[in-house]
Amino acid sequence: MLILKLATRNLFRQMGRNALSMVSIVMGVFVIVAGRGFAMGLDENVYRAQINDAGHTIIVPADYPKFGIDHPIDELYTLSESDRSWLDENTQVWTERVVSSPRLIKGLDSSRVRMVAYDPVTDPVVFPRDEWTLEGSMPDPQGTNGIVISTGVADLLQVSIGEVVVVEVRTADGALNAMQLNVTGIIDTGAMFFDKVGVMVPRSVADPLLLSTGKTSHVHARLDNRDTAPTWAEQASAVLGDKVEARTWLSTTETLIEAGKMRQTMFNFIGFALLAMAAAGIANTVLMAAFERVREIGTMRALGMTRAGVITMFAAEGGWMGLVGGIIGAFFGGLLTWYYNANGIDMYALMGAKADLSSDYPVTALLYFDFSPSFLVVSVSVAVVVAILASLYPAILASQMQPADAVRAEQ
């Protein structure tokens, strides 16, 4: 204990120099903790966005585009009774949608949109709408022809609730068709791409327009356990045949997740590069301390301290620097990840204006960092180990000093 006490007090002898060495550790641990929180949060954000946007699994026509606004309407499929029974038995809930890419016209302005034709009964069960912000109301399936538009479309075409828009479509048969619809609501779902280009209409309105009655382009399902989705997809492919393709929240996002891993690797690299710099700084600091305290080392060797004791003392000094720097870095990194874990970070602000977002990445507007207390412990431990390893070389040099020379060294 006395050796540890001595090592602790020695830290305060060159406070400025030691503090500078610790700054690198603080930064390294901060980057590792915050970077991991961001990268893991982004992964989870992608998963969540994908699940909110498409459910745990999705059945689409074979070779259907994964992203973008092109939704071929000529490849719709029809579920047989046995398909429906299989889906009833093997999912928690499921719903059918017809997704198309019509032109939405208001006056002289128009824009291509993603139109989701939904089943008003089963759709809200698969896609809970408690996180949506809805101004106005969803269209009444029994009432007049209604449409809900996203905030991005409303901004682009300057459409307000109660106004009339025209939807111009190509039907499943390839003919042109159009219909006037009343805007009953404006929604913000949190899914960035949909919120830019999406509109929703009930199947009762869309099917006569698209000539899609009884057909579907997307079957979305939620499972009891999202991790069983890959197995489920294999079974679905076997049951439903090769005209359709079963995708999962994992397969749809794998490209993004791979990118996320690269991001995590980058953060780790930066963090470990900073820790390597910190290690060099600590090695230098401990080496300087050893040369400044030659006589002290000699005295302790004369009093009975073994070489291992000298190594332990200097390694403990390095370890303390790693511990203190690691705790400070983990504290601030943890504080940041905890804050954004609780409140989320605005992805619009992070990625630029909503209008500039042109890709159909499954990302929600609020990114929640992943906060892991156990990782804080791991990162502090890594800092301590790095600092101790960095101290070993100067500590070994100090232990090899000849006591006879060291006790009489000039200080």
């Binding site: 302790m300 009975g304 006591p403 009489r408």
Partner: protein, 229 residues
């Protein structure tokens, strides 16, 4: 049994034309309870002899025995253990650890000799009280005078009850009054502890008090004068 013996001990540095014989074929024996001075001009080999006796250095040839045990061929750890248990050191510059209090400095010696922390505090406090510093236990070295620092160093050397106490120019950094007080203290402790005190010094004040004076010149023993008590 002799507490320390040097048998034909030599310590040479370099080789060929640059060979330096810091100590050459040096033999001497120290008995328990002696109060002995190693004297000689600068460069005569006093410090080299003390280094060998204190097991801080190894002889090029010859044998060093401590308490009847030959130290030839012993590992660094074994030598350290002997130093920790049987030899105490007092240095010219006191060599206290500046970040530790007087009490902790003395405790450190006990700690390094393997004693449990439970008993070190009490023994260290007793030792400091013995050298007249019982009320300055918590002072750091920079809060003590030179004489007080040297007393702490004496307490640190004596606390583990060594058989041999080596003092390298212990009064060199003290004024004569303080030096005298420190010598009085060491003489008293020599009587009370029955430890062998071995000094290296130029100081006539120390020479006067010595009961034996071993004179060294050019690394060789030139005179071994024993005086009455």
């Amino acid at each position: 049994m002799a507490i320390c013996e040097l048998e034909n001990a030599s310590r040479h540095y370099g080789s060929g034309p640059t060979l330096v014989k810091a100590l050459d074929d040096f033999s001497v024996t120290f008995q328990p309870g002696e109060f002995t001075v190693l004297s000689g001009p600068s460069g005569s080999g006093k410090t080299t002899a003390l280094n060998l006796i204190g097991l801080l250095d190894n002889p090029t040839s010859g044998v060093v025995k401590i308490d009847g045990q030959s130290t030839a061929g012993l590992s660094s750890r074994a030598l350290t253990e002997i130093r920790g248990h049987k030899i105490g050191f007092i240095f010219q510059s006191f060599n206290l650890v500046p970040v530790l209090s007087a009490l902790e400095n003395v405790e450190l010696a006990l700690h390094l000799s393997g004693l449990d922390e439970g008993v070190t505090r009490e023994l260290a406090a007793e030792s400091l009280a013995e050298v007249g510093l019982g009320d300055l236990l918590d002072r750091r070295p920079n809060q003590l005078s030179g004489g007080q620092q040297q007393r702490v160093a004496i307490a640190r050397a004596l606390v583990k009850k060594p058989k041999l106490l080596i003092a390298d120019e212990p009064t060199a950094n003290l004024d004569s009054k303080t030096g005298n007080q420190v010598l009085d203290l060491m003489a008293r402790l020599n009587q009370e502890h029955d430890a062998t005190f071995l000094f290296s010094t130029h100081d006539p004040m120390v020479m006067e008090r010595a009961r034996r004076v071993v004179k060294i010149l050019d690394g060789r023993l030139v005179e071994d004068e024993k005086r009455g008590a």
